[in-house]
């Protein structure tokens, strides 16, 4: 009697489509990825239904729950010149290496007195300093934030003019934690208003329309 033959199926699968898809996705994510730069401070922004995107050319002031203020301006050329101005105003001399460090950084929350030390420090030390700092001072006695804003605005307008573009393209964004006191944010806004900036972009998370 002949034995019943169990057809032997080939267990090898054709994986080509899966691999194709995997690489397609890899390519997609690689091209769309914008890397999260290290943040000196983490804030949890409130949500709104606004779907306006953050503009490209922006000066951003971050306020955390403790009322500490961090300053950031995107354009690297502007950053360099702003630091030059700050150095001249507060009589701190920065080395070329420190300036480069500053240009490549994002948020700074150091009083100018500690800025040189911060720029010279290594990564671990910087994280420690970011935790310990009280942010950029912005009270009426020692208003360094005012200078940062003023210089940022002036330098940006200058560079725009040199390139033959319209000056007032810089947008002013305020990023603050949900739990920050509004009075603190208002105080920061008042510093902006001293420089005649009255329109702000508040950074929010997107929330679905209910």
């Amino acid at each position: 009697m002949p034995k019943i033959k169990v057809p032997r199926s080939n267990p090898s699968l054709d994986m080509t489509p899966m691999v194709d898809l995997a690489f397609l996705l890899v390519t997609f994510f690689m091209l769309t990825a914008t890397f999260r730069t290290e943040q000196a401070v983490v804030v949890d922004t409130p949500s709104s239904v606004s779907d306006k995107l953050l503009p490209d050319n922006v000066m951003m002031v971050t306020v955390d729950t403790a009322g500490r203020v961090f300053y950031n301006i995107d354009d690297q050329n502007v950053r360099r010149k702003v630091l030059d101005n700050i150095a001249a105003r507060y009589k701190v001399a920065f080395t070329e290496k420190e300036i480069k460090e500053f240009v490549l950084m994002k948020d700074v929350g150091m009083p100018t007195a500690n800025l040189k030390q911060y720029l010279a420090a290594d990564k671990a030390e910087r994280i420690r300093m970011d935790k310990a700092t009280n942010g950029i001072p912005y009270d009426s006695l020692n208003n360094e934030l005012y200078d940062w804003i003023l210089f940022g605005r002036a330098v940006d307008a200058n560079i725009a003019e040199q390139n033959g573009k319209e000056p007032d393209r810089l947008k002013y964004a305020i990023k603050s934690d949900s739990e920050t006191n509004y009075a603190t944010v208002r105080k920061v806004m008042k510093v902006f208003q001293e420089v005649n900036v009255n329109t702000f972009s508040l950074i929010t998370d997107l929330e679905g329309k209910q």
């Binding site: 994510f29 990023k175 509004y182 944010v185 998370d205 209910q210």
Partner: protein
């Protein structure tokens, strides 16, 4: 793992000499591993898009009283934001000794319902205008002009948001958001006056 070679290696009976056929199949396992590793990495690190923003105009402190905006008694609505979670106090017109504070919530049947009702005229006009733009019966520039006209109308709701020292940033953003949804363009955020604070004290005792 990508290719399992089966059915081979059984004790061959025919010991004929043949040119060895090398397999054309390449083991793809390491490549696939790498692809998925990269995929996982990029998926996890990806930050989608840019953050969203909400524009806000702050009133400039006028140098003299002449430049101050006078608020029409009937259309003005004042919202008082305190540190009390989820509660908004409000009143209409100018604060007087006998003004009674009402309270509402941030829920969609709270503040939004009131605003939608009070600002009905502007909202219907804006909806018409949007519909017209969708159908392309009006130009974008006309749309913008009309939008300004409608929102800045004398009868449009005027909302004053007042805060105290303890108001959270989130409350202000939430309220501004509601105002944007309800097409309220005439709005301002200012500090509470002593009268407002007194009224709040009265209601909380």
């Amino acid at each position: 793992m990508a290719e399992l070679n089966t059915g081979e290696g059984g004790g061959g009976k025919h010991q004929k000499k043949r040119a060895k056929k090398s397999s054309t199949k390449v083991d793809m396992t390491p490549m696939v591993d790498l692809a998925f590793l990269l995929l996982t990495f990029f998926v996890l690190t990806a930050t989608f898009g840019k953050p969203k923003t909400m524009d806000i105009n702050m009133p400039v402190d006028p140098k003299d009283d002449k430049n101050k905006t006078k608020v029409e008694d009937q259309t003005a609505m004042t919202l008082l934001l305190t540190d009390k979670k989820g509660v908004i106090y409000f009143y209409y017109g100018v604060m007087k000794a006998d003004t009674r504070l009402d309270s509402t919530t941030y829920a969609s049947n709270g503040l939004r319902k009131i605003l939608l009702d009070k600002n009905k005229k502007v909202i219907t006009q804006m909806n018409d205008l949007r519909a017209k733009r969708e159908k392309r019966t009006i130009a974008d520039s006309t749309y913008k002009q009309t939008e300004q006209k409608v929102k800045g109308d004398r009868d449009a709701l005027y909302v004053i948001v007042k805060t105290n020292d303890k108001t959270k940033y989130k409350s202000v953003v939430d309220v501004m958001d509601e105002l944007n949804i309800c097409e309220v363009d005439k709005k301002a955020v200012i500090d509470m006056s002593p009268l407002d604070k007194a009224a709040l004290k009265k209601i909380n005792n």
